[in-house]
């Protein structure tokens, strides 16, 4: 069951990203590359030769594996298809955030290892942006866990399925905060541009500049997986209908179907945001993160002022 979920997540991640790309292309009057593009890119990268920069250390070489491994581990903890998976008690939301931080920090360290100007530029921007986004992310999670009385993702999802609390006012704010953080953490448009290597815009891409071949493939796949994880966490917290609460084949199948539909619908929102918004200056990003935090705070305050 656990393995199934991981495999599903790994398989869907490139598809979801390709679907997102396709929608963006359509919205911008370009000809889309098709749904298989994600897989084709990965296969091409895996088959290419990988280079190591002259004086990089083991950190540079093994970071792609560490990154990918932690993200795979994270995908075992999120209730993507079903709740109460065997590994679920190992971690709650806070630990999940910690786990994703491990991946981020190794990425930053690997970038600094090369000693190139662009990579360290990306590294410190990444640390800055994530440090500012973290309080907003956790306050969104706090709201959910205050309502459910638990920080365990499974319990939150079960609670959400019962009470339909996602229309509670404070939950709406939590969702808004979470959405903004999702944009920040996955280097989407108002903060970073995933599609360019232009010096002034790049955060995430700058850190990958020196990678090639199978290492780059793992990093790209990892980034797609991270985006998928964030979207599925969002789904689990705010639109949990359909996630299986038992391990019957039928329920899992239904959950898979529900997941696909929800992902299918989530992508247009992301694509629309990315098409409509312009990339912000780096020094406007703190305000963006502050807005996300403000949503979280208002959510918390309304939770206490208006009662649950």
């Amino acid at each position: 069951m656990q393995t199934l979920q991981v495999l599903v997540a790994l398989a869907i991640a490139p598809l979801f990203s390709a679907w997102l790309q396709m929608l963006r292309a359509l919205l911008q009057n370009r000809r889309p590359a098709g749904l298989g593009q994600g897989y084709r890119d990965l296969r091409r990268l895996f088959h290419k030769e990988a280079f190591l920069p002259e004086d990089s250390s083991w950190l540079f070489r093994f970071s792609p594996y560490i990154l990918f491994g932690t993200k795979v581990m994270a995908s075992t903890l999120v209730p993507i298809l079903a709740v109460d998976l065997p590994l679920a008690p190992a971690a709650d939301v806070i630990a999940l955030v910690g786990l994703l931080a491990v991946a981020r920090i190794f990425q930053v360290l690997a970038a600094m290892d090369t000693g190139t100007p662009f990579a360290s530029l990306g590294a410190h921007r990444e640390m800055l942006v994530s440090a500012l986004a973290e309080p907003a992310l956790l306050s969104a999670f706090f709201i959910a866990s205050l309502l459910a009385g638990s920080t365990s993702l499974s319990t939150i999802v079960l609670h959400a399925q019962e009470g339909l609390f996602s229309l509670h006012p404070s939950m709406v704010f939590a969702a808004a905060a979470f959405f903004l953080v999702l944009l920040v953490e996955n280097s989407r448009i108002p903060v970073d541009n995933p599609a360019t290597h232009l010096e002034l815009t790049m955060i995430h891409e700058a850190m990958l500049l020196e990678y090639s071949g199978r290492h780059l493939a793992l990093l790209e796949w990892g980034a797609q997986l991270k985006l998928l994880l964030y979207v599925t966490i969002g789904i689990a917290l705010f639109f949990p209908w359909g996630i299986a609460d038992q391990f019957a084949p039928m329920a899992i199948l239904l959950a898979g179907l529900a997941l696909l539909i929800k992902l299918f619908l989530a992508a247009p929102i992301l694509a629309l945001v990315e098409t409509l918004l312009a990339k912000k200056r780096l020094f406007r990003v703190p305000e963006f993160a502050a807005t996300a935090f403000l949503f979280g705070v208002i959510g918390l305050l309304t939770h206490f002022m208006l009662g649950s």
Partner: protein
């Protein structure tokens, strides 16, 4: 059918509107552009009208429908429209400068909200149980609008802040006590309109004298004497 009722129960919509009101107040505090400020004010007016309508459904009071319609037309449409026209005729452009930076103002706003909450908590005892907290939100919105007036320098944003204060008071009166006599409401609405008109005239005077709507020019009046 229980979950359905839960989902759409009027009270939770009212609560949601209250939270939305608070968010709009924060947005007013953070917004730099005059045009967006006016749009936000319009949204606040519409929210106010909606919440009055919700209270009308809740209590079954006919007169509240009238007041909701009035609010919608006056605060949601007419005043923003007038402000908009004023903006065009005065040809004010560009950003609103602020005396403090956005993040600290927002932080101060959060502190104010907690303060308002602490103030309103003991008062809420005399209100219907369902609307506990509404008073706190109204008070918070009021204080936030006040803070906005303090931190701005352009005359138009001062007026927006004033109208937002008015909205907050209105919201407190209708939502927390579930209804308000129409006469009082009409009086307040007229007051707001007159204040708005006077300020509109005032703007033209300021601009004729100083070629700008920036209020810090007013400081020079004292020195010139």
């Amino acid at each position: 059918m229980r979950p359905f009722l839960d989902l759409f129960s009027l009270l939770s919509i009212l609560k949601f509107l209250a939270a939305w009101m608070l968010l709009l107040s924060f947005a007013l505090l953070a917004q730099r552009r005059l045009l967006s400020l006016i749009h936000l004010l319009a949204w606040q007016g519409i929210t106010l009208a909606l919440s009055t309508a919700m209270v009308a459904v809740l209590t079954g009071d006919r007169l509240l429908w009238v007041s909701a319609t009035l609010t919608l037309s006056l605060k949601g449409l007419l005043i923003p429209f007038l402000l908009h026209r004023l903006l065009r005729r005065l040809q004010v452009r560009g950003d609103v400068e602020m005396s403090l930076n956005v993040a600290s103002v927002q932080l101060l706003g959060i502190v104010l909200v907690i303060f308002a909450f602490a103030l309103a908590a003991p008062l809420a005892g005399s209100l219907p149980a369902a609307t506990h907290g509404m008073l706190g939100i109204a008070l918070a919105a009021f204080l936030l609008a006040f803070l906005m007036m303090i931190t701005r320098r352009k005359a138009i944003s001062e007026v927006v802040g004033f109208l937002a204060m008015d909205n907050a008071l209105f919201f407190g009166a209708t939502s927390a006590t579930l209804g308000m006599p129409l006469i009082v409401e009409l009086g307040i609405a007229l007051d707001a309109l007159i204040a708005f008109l006077i300020l509109g005239v005032f703007f033209f005077h300021i601009r004729e004298s100083f070629e700008s709507l920036d209020l810090h020019w007013l400081e020079h009046l004292r020195e010139n004497q």
